[in-house]
Structures are given as C-alpha cells and as structure tokens.
C-alpha cells in the first residue's frame, strides 16, 4: 500500500473507530427528528384549560353566551384551517385526502390534526361559586377552585367574571398560573367579537353576515410557465429548490466539519511531535494528500449514513415523495452538481485548514486565522436563503463567482437552472482555486510542520513564499 493510502487509512480509522464519531454521526438525524417533532409535540401536548364563567349581575347578562359562541366559532375556524391544509397537502402530493387523513392518524402528519385542537374548554360553573356572595366570599371560593392541591376533578384552570362598563364588556380573569395568559387572550378576543356583533347589530347589520365574511378564505392558485404541469405550480415544482437549499446547507456543514477535523488532526500531530517523524517517512505532499483523502472518506461515510437514513425515512414515512426526490436528484442532475461542488469545496477548505493546523499546537493558536475565515463563511449561509426565492438576484449571482462561496451558493441555485456560462465558469473557478489552494497549502504545510513560528497572516504568507526552505 502506498504511503498516501497508509496515511489516509490511519486518518480514517483514527476517527471511525471511536464511539464519539458514530454518536456525532447519528446526532444530526436525531436532532433533526427531535427538532421537527418538538413543535408538534408542544402543540399536541398543550393542556386544555378548564374555565368557569360568572356573570356579575344583570348588566353582564348574555356575555357568557357570547363567550360560548366565540368558542364555537373558534372551533369552526380551526376545523376549516385543518381541512384547508389537508386539501393543500393533497394537491401538492397528488395523494387522496383520505390517505392524508389516514397518515395523520398514524402520526405521519400530526401537525395538521394539531391545528384543530382547542386550548380552552368552558365548564359548568361550580355550585359553590355560583352561590358565593360577591366580594371576599366569592374570592375565597375562587382561590379554593384554583388551588394546585385541590382534587383534580373539581379543580379549575381559570375563573372569568364577566361584566359591562357602560355598553362595553369587561372581564376579571383569575388563573391558576400567573404566567398563563392563554385564557386571558381568548376572553379578550371573545369579548371583542361580542362587542363587534353588538355594535354591528345596533348599526343594522346582521351578525350572520359578519360571521360569513370572517369565515371567507379566498382560493388563490400559483401558476408558472416553468411548472412541471405546464401551468399550476405544485409541490413537485418547489421540491428542487428545497433540495438545492438543503444541499447547500448540507455541503457547508460537511465541508466545514471535514476541514475542521483535518485542522484538529494536524494540530494534534504537530503538538505531539509526530509530524516530523511522518516527514522523515513520507513527503509533505504524500502526508497532506493522505490526510485529506482519509478525512474525505470520513466525510463520505457521514454523507452516505445521512443519505441512507434520509432515504429510509422517506421510503418508510412519505413513500409518495420518494420518486419525486429521486427524479430531482438524478434526472435534473442535482446529484452530480452536488458531488462536483462537494469535491471542489472540500479540497479548497481541507488543504487550507490542514496548512493552518501545521502552524498550530492548540485551537487558540489557530484563532488568528480561523476567526476571520469563519466570519467570512457566514456569508454563504445568509445568501443561500435568498437563493431559494431569488436565485437570479445580483448579489447571489456575483457571490456565486467567489470560489470560496461557489460550492454552497451554486448548489442552492442549481435547481433554478442558472445560465450554463455561470455553471461552467463558477465550477472552473472553484477547481482552479482548489488547485491554487493545494499549491499554497502544500508550501505552507511543509514550512509550518517543521517550524516553531506562531501563526499569523505574516508568517503564513512568508511560509507560502519560502515554501519551507
């Protein structure tokens, strides 16, 4: 086996044999699932507040009924929102609505059913509360009902005293938790609706007309000459852009992770004084190539693992999307763009980070150069999101020509089919820069590996000029 491959194999095994590597490999999909599930879980697990209403005297008459009516309307609105979301999902996926509802029941689209869920339930006013005299007696009963230690069966989350100041409804809301304002918000909305109905009625407008106009949701459809159907825009048309953006982020994450592994590995060898031994056994080029190759294999392992897990999850939970994703990746050539940009981008950053590592023994030493580099690397992250909606915006197009940003921005832009000159030009620029970086980093690596010089822009530039001579 050649020296390069020996070094590559050692580099790969040094990480691949550790438990930490596999844990961190699984951490990303795990946190992606957790990240997606948490909001749904939060929506579905939010408790329903048990609320009792008390009308304070004859002037408040009708307000409890108005609040109940507001609750019923709210329920109607939620059902309509869910139905609308189901229709949108059926339209974009091409699945029958029933299939989506079935999937929801299995938990596949739990977010839609969570739309329907109400946050407040109005219960009958407890007899003790109804019988209590206004004032101190009533307050004592309320405190008992809201007490944390009260039996769960009779315990309330909130008691609302409804009244009128002149013609305008008012309320005092007692809640079990001082920080919980869900009931307060609901009552405020309910009383506003009640008051609006009252005002409209006084003005001679039928409340049913008001409700009907509120329920109205205009049906707006998007069309584009570039859509797959030739007209109406569906989910299939938006999928490439989503995959492009995801590819850009994935590339950024993989390249920076791989390059950082290389930086740390070289730093460790420098601080452990292994680099000099290696240099007596292999040329700087063989060492650098071996290390870059070893970490590339590691990065590829991560990519394959994530890709495999993603594909499995897609086939298992959303099989109807799998052919679409396959089409986008293979037919539109996304996978080839992705691999080309991954190769160029990784090479550029990996050799640069390895060369920096050759000057450093601790991460603190590397900070001088790594700080500014990482700040610059934030730019493509910000611009990538813009590339999703405006892939032809001047700032996106110009920054795509910066070789260090090309892999990320062009991956994100690829689905929007940018002009061929931009694809070829930026890719050529990226690979030219990658070759230049290999040359620069090779010289800096050779000089840094045998030097005790502290890393600075000046010493790095000097090393490149001198090439370790």
């Amino acid at each position: 086996m050649s020296r390069t491959l020996l070094i590559a194999r050692r580099e790969f095994l040094a990480y691949a044999k550790t438990v930490g590597f596999w844990l961190s490999l699984l951490a990303f999909p795990f946190f992606a699932i957790v990240g997606g599930a948490v909001p749904v879980l939060m929506r579905t697990s939010e408790p329903v507040r048990q609320v009792a209403l008390v009308e304070e005297g004859p002037s408040a008459q009708g307000l409890a009924a108005a609040v109940r009516e507001a609750l019923r309307l709210d329920q109607e609105r939620r059902q309509a929102a869910q139905a609308q979301a189901e229709e949108a999902a059926a339209r974009t996926t091409g699945m029958p609505k029933e299939a989506i509802q079935a999937a929801q029941k299995q938990g596949g689209a739990g977010g839609l059913s969570a739309l329907r869920r109400q946050r407040v339930a109005i219960v009958d006013t407890p007899a003790a509360l109804a019988a209590a005299q206004p004032g101190a007696d009533q307050e004592r009963v309320v405190r008992q009902l809201l007490d944390q230690d009260a039996p769960k069966a009779g315990r309330l989350d909130a008691v609302v005293f409804l009244n009128r100041a002149g013609a305008q409804p008012t309320a005092r809301v007692w809640t079990r938790r001082a920080t919980d304002d869900r009931v307060e918000d609901f009552i405020r909305d309910a009383l506003r609706t009640a008051y609006r109905g009252q005002v409209f009625q006084a003005a001679g407008i039928d409340p049913q007309v008001v409700q009907a106009t509120e329920r109205f949701r205009p049906d707006v459809k998007a069309f584009s000459p570039k859509s797959a159907s030739g007209g109406q825009v569906g989910f299939r048309d938006r999928l490439p852009a989503i995959i492009g953006l995801a590819s850009g982020f994935l590339l950024w994450s993989l390249i920076i992770t791989g390059a950082s592994i290389l930086l740390n590995s070289v730093m460790e060898e420098k601080s452990n004084k292994i680099l000099e031994v290696l240099l007596s056994s292999a040329s700087p080029t063989e060492i650098l190539t071996g290390k870059v190759l070893g970490v590339a294999m590691l990065t590829l392992t991560v990519l394959c693992a994530w890709g495999g897990l993603g594909a499995l999850a897609l086939i298992q939970f959303l099989p109807q999307y799998a052919p679409m994703v396959g089409d986008v990746l293979l037919d539109s050539g996304m996978i080839f763009y992705f691999l080309a940009y991954a190769a160029g981008g990784y090479l550029m950053y990996a050799v640069l980070f390895a060369a920096i590592g050759a000057f450093c023994e601790t991460p603190r030493d590397a900070q001088t150069l790594m700080g500014p580099i990482m700040m610059v690397l934030i730019i493509p992250i910000m611009v990538m999101q813009m590339a999703l909606t405006s892939p032809d915006a001047p700032v996106v197009r110009i920054l795509s020509w910066v070789p260090f940003f090309t892999p990320f921005l062009m991956s994100a832009r690829a689905p929007s089919e940018p002009p061929m000159i931009e694809i070829v030009g930026t890719m050529a620029g990226m690979f030219a820069m990658a070759l230049l970086m290999v040359w620069i980093a090779g010289r800096a690596f050779r000089a840094g590996a045998l030097s005790d010089v502290k890393l600075s822009w000046k010493s790095f530039a000097g090393a490149v000029r001198g090439g370790g001579n």
Partner: protein, 319 residues
C-alpha cells in the same frame, strides 16, 4: 572504510542568520558517530538537511549514495529530538504503521514489533494505548518504530534527553546492537559522556561550525591532563607552579578549595605536584586527571556544551 554519509561545505541560512557554516564531515559505514554540540549549535538543522526535510543553502551531501535522505527514505531510520506517537494507538500498531511507511509489510511489522518490544522488556505493554505508557517506555517504543524496518542508516537526534539513567543505559545497549547488526548510527547529543562511551567517531560542532572530526581519543589528545588539588590553597600559587597552563576552576569546599588546573602540553604533572609540596602548600588531596570529551570540547571550541547557543530568529520558517 567507505562512507555512508558525506557532507561537503554544507551551509544553511535562515534569512540573515547562518545556522550551519561550511560544514564537512563523513561517517564510515557500520560506525557509531556522535554529532556533538550545545543546543543551538546547528545539529538539528544539519540532520534535517541530511534527511532532506530542509534544503541546504549551499554545499553538497551524499547519504547511502543518494544526494539527500528523501531518495533513500526507506533505508533510513530517524528519531527526532522532540518525540511523540499517536496516543490512541497501541505500541504494536504504532510500530507497524511507521514500519509500513518505510515499506515493511504490515504483518511483518507487527511480528517484529512484538519481538522487539519483548526484547526491550515492554512485552506486557504491547497492547496498551501509548498514552498509558511512561515517558521512558514511550521513547523506547519510538526508537523501535524508527528502526523496525532495519535501516542501513539510523539518525537519532538527542536520543538520551528526558531519559532516566536506567533507560539511558538501555538505549546505549540498543545503539550498540544496531551497529552490531551492521547499521551506521549518527546521533546528536550535548551530553559528552554518552558519546565517550559509544562513539567510534565524533564530530564537534559549535556555533554552526565544525570544531573537530575524529575519534574520541584523538579529541582528548587535543587537550592536556588536569591536576586537581584540595586544601587551603591560593589559586595564584597553583598558577605559579611549573607545568601549569591555567587554573580552570577553584570551588570552595568548607575551609578549603578544590582547584582544577590544566597542565601545559606534554606536562605529566609530577613536577607541579613536587613543587607544591616543596613550597609548603596545604595540599590535603591531589589527583592527576585524564581529560574527558567534555574537556576536549571546551578546549577545542572554547564553548561549554551545556550552555544553549540557540539564537535562531523566531521567524525562521517565514523567511
């Protein structure tokens, strides 16, 4: 005897700083050669040039018939001054890996690693992680890693530094063993005692220049014997004795002094000692001493090998 290594007028500069100046010497095949000098004398720079890790500014060298070490990498074993191995590897894995880099098949490397570790008393530690070994054990492992491929030429940069006396003795045995097996050994050190015990030949280096090249005895022959006197004696009185070239030191010892005087060339010291007794000096103890390699180094270079000569500019690599 044919030379395994020849340097001809080699110089190395880092910007304005000249680390090695017009250095020429040769190392015969199968010999143990000590490359001696204080820290900063230019030993490591010279070794790096021999290995081809750094180019010479001028001059030429030849090692095992090649113009620098890069061409005959697999025939050379190298132990650098500052040592380290992969902490998570076991000694067997580390030795086999470095052997493989030198072209030794992996299986053979592992087999030899086990044998050599056993021979060095490290058999029980062969499957431990490197980070679990003591410094002395780790240094032995690294030395084994540098010679597992049975190199023809072994370069050891300050191999004794950081080792306790027991391990230093073990290392001396290993070096003798390498030479006995036919390897040529060049080792650098600033501790003269090791060179005195081991070397067939020494090259003394001071401030980047060669001060001497020859055998240990030839080096010692370049200086004179010493007369050591102990008593309540005035150093000036010793300086006045016949055959005394110079008083090298006068160390207080209770109410007395220990005076070390270098004798004149060819002087045996008997005349000086006789005159000391005759002139009534308070001589409580006397000793005539043969010069050591350390003494020879001082006499030949005017420098003390224990004093650092490091003065390389901080930005050497950036130049």
């Amino acid at each position: 005897m044919a030379a395994a290594l020849t340097l001809e007028s080699i110089s190395k500069s880092y910007g304005d700083f000249q680390a090695v100046k017009d250095l020429s010497f040769s190392v015969p095949k199968g010999s143990i050669c000590g490359f001696l000098g204080p820290n900063g004398a230019g030993k490591t720079s010279t070794i790096r040039m021999i290995l081809g890790l750094q180019p010479a500014t001028s001059g030429r060298l030849e090692i095992l018939g090649a113009e620098d070490g890069r061409k005959v990498r697999d025939r050379i074993g190298f132990l650098p001054e500052e040592r380290g191995l992969y902490k998570k590897m076991t000694p067997v894995e580390a030795i086999a890996f470095f052997g493989a880099l030198k072209g030794l098949p992996s299986g053979e490397g592992r087999k030899r690693a086990k044998e050599m570790l056993e021979a060095q008393g490290l058999g029980a530690s062969r499957n431990k992680k490197m980070k679990e070994l003591s410094k002395g054990m780790a240094q032995k492992v690294q030395l084994i890693a540098s010679v597992v491929h049975r190199p023809e030429f072994v370069i050891l940069d300050e191999p004794f530094s950081g080792l306790d006396p027991m391990n230093q003795q073990g290392l001396e045995q290993m070096i003798r063993g390498l030479a006995a097996d036919g390897a040529t050994v060049l080792f650098s050190t600033h501790v003269m005692q090791h060179a005195e015990r081991l070397c067939d030949k020494v090259v003394l280096l001071a401030r980047g220049r060669k001060a001497f090249e020859g055998t240990v005895d030839e080096a010692k022959g370049r200086t004179t014997r010493f007369l050591e006197l102990e008593g309540a004696i005035d150093p000036a009185a010793v300086q006045a004795l016949p055959g005394v070239a110079a008083v090298e030191s006068a160390e207080p010892n209770g109410d007395a002094r220990v005076i070390r005087a270098r004798l004149s060339e060819g002087g045996g010291g008997q005349e000086a000692l006789k005159q000391a007794f005759l002139s009534g000096l308070d001589v409580r103890r006397f000793q005539l001493k043969e010069p050591t390699l350390h003494d020879a180094f001082i006499a030949l270079t005017g420098d003390n090998p224990d004093v650092d000569q490091k003065q390389r500019p901080e930005t050497e690599a950036a130049r």
